[in-house]
């Protein structure tokens, strides 16, 4: 179960907003400092570890740059719940260990609310009101990779296990 405070964004949050091109040659920490500044300059100062991003359609549109995911992880974002995701971003997120949930009613979740998300059952609940939102579940074998921190640590673990076994 993932629980955190909600930061609401609209439709078409793109990879240039998440990881602006002009900071792309820097380290992830530097890119993260500019994450979403074009749409919400105060976001990086307000966001706390564990917080959850809730957005509209087409989250992560645009580039294949993984730094768009890595910047959110560096800020401590624990999950993204959106009406829909751009396909490369969706795969990148799971590969880097960030749970991403497709939720048709995402736009009804208020900014600042606390929500608890269970990725494998696909259930998101607003803590204060008990209001429930159904998301597309993430299959448990994919969540195993996400919990390991993404494909690389997951591969390391699997390769180690197969060598030992």
């Amino acid at each position: 179960m993932i629980e955190g405070a909600v930061h609401r964004f609209g439709d078409n949050i793109d990879t240039d907003q998440l990881a602006p091109g002009r900071y792309m040659k820097g380290a992830i920490a530097e890119i993260a400092r500019h994450c979403l500044e074009a749409v919400d300059p105060g976001f990086v100062d307000r966001v706390c570890p564990g917080d959850i991003i809730v957005a509209g359609d087409n989250f992560g549109a645009g580039s294949s740059r993984e730094q768009a995911v890595a910047a959110l992880l560096a800020l401590g974002v624990s999950a993204v719940v959106a009406k829909s995701f751009a396909r490369i971003f969706f795969r990148n997120a799971l590969n880097l260990g960030l749970p991403v949930l497709v939720c048709p009613t995402a736009s009804e979740i208020p900014d600042g609310a606390r929500i608890a998300v269970d990725p494998t059952s696909g259930r998101a609940v607003e803590t204060a009101t008990g209001q429930q939102h159904d998301c597309e579940p993430i299959p448990s074998h994919l969540m195993a990779m996400v919990r390991d921190g993404g494909l690389l640590p997951h591969l390391e673990k699997t390769l180690r296990t197969s060598t030992n076994g």
């Binding site: 793109d14 294949s64 396909r87 494909l151």
Partner: protein, 425 residues
């Protein structure tokens, strides 16, 4: 025997060693070629490969291009390009193209994308390769790590949309205008995760570079890839670049109108007008007349989408015998060195320069926000590139409009957005 199927399904079936696959199935495909560039390539992947103690499964199936950070503009970008060169040497990557231009244009110029192939690219504009009847899809760096270690990738077979463009485009109207129109009208929800197959006279009458623009911008629709069945135009191009393919070899990769397409749409190319996307999304597109008079600080012709030889020729048609307006600058960053050579040889380059254009290095340049030609606060730019996301080409307050090279060149001459057909004979 399996029934008629969409081109994407047949290409995926070949790559996963099956007779047929259906949309929605998850299959594992052997990768014929893995393309990477300096931004998402070795810089991100080498540390991961080292951590796993692995190397590419087959270096002859890897192509590497420096385009995002080459030529370097500062010490940090130089270090990224240098790391890329070193890795190419260490791994013996023969298909390493250093400072030759943008990956999506350079690979076809070397005949590396051919009908029937299954290709992954570490860049979102990888669907460009679909113009050759190859299945080519964009992936992120960690996904590429998996490909490099195993030589394969899992993929969900996409549903396919068949977009048929009837008739012929009018003079001054281009593949870019077709794509901006689709961005505005199709909607991301209808296209996300799907393959887009293009057909019809307006498509088959296009040269390869324009077909590449169609497939390239399916990324902006949210598609997994875009595809065009190979024909005589495809085979002529491949012969010219020294990678001849016979018509018999492409027989399996034709459009089958009896296939089970999720959606079919028909368009009349002859009535399409030049299109312009308003800030900050390609989906905010409409006829150029909606934006007539918007004053422009910078006109930019660049990128894999809008700086191939045909794109430069379009600009030259407008600029012949004209000068760009005072107070407006026109920057041209050709997509590849071969484009520069050809444009120089035929006089296109001279036409652009005489009109007052500034020639920039080949590569991704300002399109990705990495190179020369970035925008200051509140500046207005019209660009032949694919994306006008907020802050992409510099300051977040900059206003980026998108249009065809005709429309960009016309704006440079007028100093404001204008219908380019006013400048054509």
């Amino acid at each position: 025997m399996a029934g008629p199927s969409a081109l994407a399904e047949r290409l995926i079936a070949r790559a996963c060693g099956r007779d047929a696959v259906s949309a929605g199935e998850i299959v594992t495909c052997k990768v014929d070629l893995a393309m990477m560039h300096d931004s998402g390539g070795p810089r991100r992947i080498k540390p991961m490969l080292d951590r796993l103690g692995e190397a590419p499964w087959d270096s002859s199936r890897v192509a590497l291009v420096t385009d995002h950070y080459a030529p370097a503009i500062d010490a940090e970008s130089a270090a990224i390009v240098d790391l890329t060169r070193q890795w190419a040497r260490e791994q013996g990557i023969a298909q390493f193209f250093d400072s030759e231009g943008i990956c999506h244009v350079v690979l076809p110029e070397h005949g590396l994308i051919r009908p029937g192939m299954f290709v992954v690219g570490g860049d979102s504009h990888s669907p460009t390769g679909g113009a050759f009847g190859a299945f080519m899809v964009g992936i992120g760096a960690t996904e590429m790590l998996g490909v490099l270690v195993r030589g394969e990738i899992w993929i969900k077979v996409p549903r396919t949309l068949l977009l048929t463009w009837h008739g012929r485009l009018a003079a001054g109207v281009t593949a870019k205008d077709m794509m901006l129109h689709l961005c505005a009208t199709l909607g991301q929800a209808a296209v996300n995760y799907r393959a887009v197959e293009f057909a019809g006279e307006a498509v088959t009458s296009l040269p390869m570079a324009e077909r590449m623009t169609l497939c390239n911008m399916t990324a902006e629709l949210g598609a997994k890839t875009g595809l065009i069945a190979p024909d005589a135009t495809t085979l002529d191009y491949l012969s010219e670049v020294g990678a001849p393919v016979s018509a018999a070899e492409t027989a399996a990769w034709q459009t089958d109108l009896a296939a089970d397409y999720e959606l079919r749409r028909d368009y009349d190319a002859s009535t399409l007008s030049p299109q312009v996307a308003a800030p900050h999304s390609p989906q905010a597109s409409g006829p150029v007349s909606e934006h007539r008079g918007v004053a422009v600080d910078q006109a930019y012709i660049g990128s894999c989408t809008g700086a191939k030889l045909v794109d430069l020729r379009m600009a030259a048609e407008i600029l012949t015998g004209r000068q760009i307006a005072a107070g407006t600058r026109l920057l041209v960053a050709p997509a590849s060195n071969r484009v520069v050579e050809q444009a120089k040889a035929e006089g296109t380059l001279a036409t652009l320069m005489e009109a007052g254009a500034v020639l920039l290095p080949t590569g991704c340049g300002a399109c990705a926000g990495y190179g020369a030609g970035l925008l200051g606060e509140a500046e207005v730019c019209i660009s032949s590139t694919a994306r006008n996301f907020k802050g992409r080409m510099g300051a977040a307050s900059a206003q980026i409009y998108l249009g065809s090279p005709y429309t960009v060149a016309a704006a440079a001459v007028a100093g404001h957005i204008v219908d380019p057909r006013e400048f054509l004979p």
